[in-house]
Subunit: 344 residues, 2 copies
């Protein structure tokens, strides 16, 4: 099994789980669930069946691969994988509301189409159903104690996610965010889900505690590498490949790591802070901001951080190897490589 | 023990649970939790300690009384009671955003004070922490199987709540809402929490399945009576007692049961629908709307529905009596009486 085979083999059962979960029990509730299905890419803006872009489904894949790696039947973990992906999508629905974002994956965001109140509540519905997914694990033969432990991990992950989102929004108004604070933010906002996904898969696969921890640490390293790579692409990515405008994260004044690092730089920090204090950015400032990031060697700093996160993930994966009984373990390494070498 | 003794004896432990749950683990997260604490009435608008109005804490009380009624230690159910109250408050935070409400309990709403994005996310945090509360049950000696079952009931309750909120918002744009649809809406929006609260208490108290069901049905009847009473007070309540303007639910065009019933009335329905189709209501229309509700005998119809709901609750309470081992059972009957006889 290689990575693309893993996608093809493992993900259809997760899609089926999610479709079963996001279906109305009564006709009067159809629209509530249709809104969620629109966000998932299964319906178009007129609520007719569609096949829109659905996102990468990385989190469910991590969960199922870790379950398979330790010798578990990945189908058993499908409800947990579905819960992770639904929770991720809940967070996107609310992020789009909170960030006032009009589009996602080249389509209008849920709130833009159905209004903020309905979209906010549809997000709440998906949040609740993501938890509900875990109660389907019992039908797949997962023991009650493991289901309860999975729900505990999942619940703490949700709390960490909202804490990360709080920090991300709080940073918007600040020019003195430290690198440590930045890492605390992404540990919640991106890291929580990436950490929990393989942790939950290994747990449901019946792995011993040491292995569950190793896969958790793997997810933490991978999630950090993924987010830092995102930060690099948001400034230096190829417009034609990312589908976003060049330096989009600078124009939106995002406190991504290159910017946080340069804002605190002893030489260029003060000038950069003056630019970031102005409202709004002049597009003409863009070359100057990029020059200041260069002068701070921000790109190299972040690239080094990516390498460090990759090493952390690889070390954790090696620690898990003694417990691994299937080639799925190998595919997790392949997944790590593909994410940090991506151009979009 | 009578009702006011029950309040005094049982609720402080729930407050302590909630305060423990809504506390930041790191200083950088303080403001995220302070926002939640402001909503709970524990902090003022400057985030200094306060003792603002906190709401009636009915749901935790129902939970603890049912636990005690079947012979359980009510302190064991405190985390579940805290989870119910936190979930209720999460729903208020998001309702205020979705309804664009500037005040609650005579104070600015959370979004009004801290902005919609932060308030929405603080609500999500509280939603997540409400689930987390149930994982504290284990420390109180509740067996894992009962914790898992409690989380399943709680999760389904959350989903029903978001479905009820969807219907409530969907009804705003409609003049043809049926009485059946209205009842489906309040079963989710108000009923879900009132139903789950005594059900969870009895479950955690170790009651047999029949008793858990009887207390659940008691909660369903009580919740319906409570909401219908609210509908009556929203139109015919005494301004001086409710603290709201007279006929406030008519001015806000709320699709409460008296209005839904009269909108579908064969004689006055058409005239009332024409009035409700106009935007905005003229205050001068108010006496006419009240006359049309009178002509439809809407008040008498809803009062009869309240009596029916009370009988349902009383019947369920009688069915639970054989399992009841403490005077807390009696207090539940007292609580029912107090709610349906309230004037505010």
């Amino acid at each position: 099994m290689n990575l693309s085979e893993a996608y093809a083999e493992l993900l259809p059962v997760v899609e089926a789980e999610m479709r079963a979960i996001l279906s109305a029990s009564e006709p009067i509730l159809a629209r509530h669930y249709d809104m969620m299905q629109y966000h998932m890419g299964w319906l178009d803006a007129d609520l007719r069946p569609a096949e829109a872009a659905t996102g990468k489904r990385l989190r469910p894949l991590l969960c199922l691969l870790a379950c398979a790696a330790v010798g578990g039947d990945p189908g058993r973990a499908a409800p947990a994988a579905a819960g992770l992906e639904l929770l991720h999508n809940f967070s996107l629905i609310h992020d789009d509301i909170e960030d006032d974002s009009p589009t996602r994956r080249h389509r209008p965001t849920l709130w833009k189409l159905f209004g903020m109140p309905m979209a906010c509540n549809a997000g709440d519905g998906m949040f609740s159903l993501a938890h509900g997914a875990f109660h389907r694990l019992g039908r797949h033969g997962v023991p009650a104690a493991a289901v309860l432990e999975a729900l505990r991990i999942f619940g703490e992950m949700c709390t960490a996610l909202t804490e990360g989102q709080f920090l991300d929004m709080a940073f918007e108004a600040r020019l003195d965010v430290t690198v440590d604070e930045y890492f605390a933010m992404i540990r919640g906002k991106t890291g929580a889900l990436f950490t929990a996904a393989p942790q939950l898969g290994a747990l449901i696969g019946g792995a011993p505690a040491d292995a569950v921890e190793a896969y958790r640490d793997f997810g933490a390293g991978l999630g950090r590498a993924f987010q830092l790579q995102d930060d690099l692409l948001g400034i230096w990515g190829d417009e034609a490949l990312t589908g976003k405008s060049a330096a989009s994260d600078i124009l939106s004044r995002k406190k991504s790591l290159p910017v946080v690092y340069a804002l605190g730089h002893p030489v260029v920090g003060e000038q950069l802070r003056r630019l970031y204090a102005g409202v709004p950015f002049d597009c003409a400032d863009l070359p100057l901001v990029l020059r200041l990031l260069d002068a701070a060697a921000a790109r190299g700093y972040v690239e080094a951080q990516v390498r460090e996160a990759i090493v952390e993930a690889q070390t954790a994966l090696a620690a898990a190897r003694p417990f691994a009984v299937s080639e799925a373990h190998q595919v997790l390494g392949e997944l790590l490589d593909s994410l940090v070498n991506r151009r979009s």
